[in-house]
Symmetry: C2
Subunit: 198 residues, 2 copies
């Protein structure tokens, strides 16, 4: 439609998650008709972000520096380490404001069928990181999926020789969710893991 460069822009916008052909067209038209300056700014931000953002040398989250702000912070508890699968999980936990320790990003979960074993998600490096005795509690915050659970269990085994407390984030019914819409596996887990109130 209109021109080759228009079609190329529509195609390029399709790489964004949950953007289908119709919304890509709508976006392209909006940018060209209503916000050329914004489009140029977005191009610049994309080039900058892809050039300068990379993995933190310590926790494997994202940063522009050698080591990320959280790893550098002296105001966060060095004794608490939260292990997650991805930087998106770091972001979600940070936004919940519920954690003031440090992080370790695995960059995935164990998935033997896809050839992803302990080496591929840097478990030897994590074990080494835990070996200096600074960390006293590891919070396993891998996803509550089959693979995330397996990864958490593997980590408990792999760090058996270290005197560490290992905890797992609680699993149960999500706040604000109505029971009738909660899947039965989650519900049976929630009943099984019920907590004493009195």
């Amino acid at each position: 439609m209109f021109s080759d460069r228009f079609d190329q822009l529509v195609q390029a916008l399709r790489i964004l998650p949950s953007v289908g052909p119709k919304s890509a067209q709508r976006m392209a038209l909006h940018l060209i008709m209503k916000n050329k300056e914004g489009a140029i700014g977005l191009a610049h931000a994309l080039n900058e972000a892809t050039s300068y953002i990379h993995e933190c040398g310590i926790c494997h989250s994202l940063t522009e520096n050698e080591v990320c702000d959280i790893c550098c912070s002296t105001e966060r508890d060095d004794q608490l380490l939260c292990v997650v699968e991805s930087p998106a999980d770091v972001m979600a936990i940070e936004q919940s404001g519920s954690f003031k320790g440090k992080y370790h990003v695995l960059g995935g979960h164990l998935s033997p069928l896809d050839g992803i074993g302990p080496e591929e998600i840097g478990i030897p490096y994590l074990v080494q990181r835990l070996s200096d005795g600074k960390v006293t509690e590891v919070i396993l915050a891998t996803n509550p999926t089959v693979e995330g659970q397996a990864t958490a269990h593997y980590l408990v085994e792999a760090t058996k020789h270290l005197s560490l407390q290992m905890t797992r984030i609680a699993q149960g019914v999500p706040q604000g969710g109505e029971l009738e819409y909660v899947d039965s596996h989650t519900l049976s887990q929630a009943v099984h893991n019920r907590m004493k109130m009195k």
Copy 2:
């Protein structure tokens, strides 16, 4: 979160229509973690599109050339001219495959309260375009809104002195829509404009 350039990318993505703070974050993470190459391609496509795409010198739709493909085409009917508000409408009608004439994009609709009169949407130029006698029918495809209707009526008045057929795209209940969900104004119009079947 993560770094300044990450936050800048999230902000820049917010200019896309119907992208809120949460989806902008999700998009930024996706691009940096999963598709850096795609992100660089998108930046390039944005720069190219904003540099090279502009208004067609004849119909005011979008093109990379002086005159757009539709205006240049010898396979389209020069006697039929479809008047629309924006290039998005050209795209929608083209995708419906229902029209084989040429277009004229007003770039808006009459809106006296916003200071948008006939000059602002190029009506004198359209009248001049129609004056050479090539066009025999003008299809008024401005939006079925109060402003779009007013603009269509104004065009009928403004071209009174020319011997042209002026038609308006049909208004009624949309195909596939269920009557109970159609607004009452549309429904009353549809009853009023009912068509003989036998």
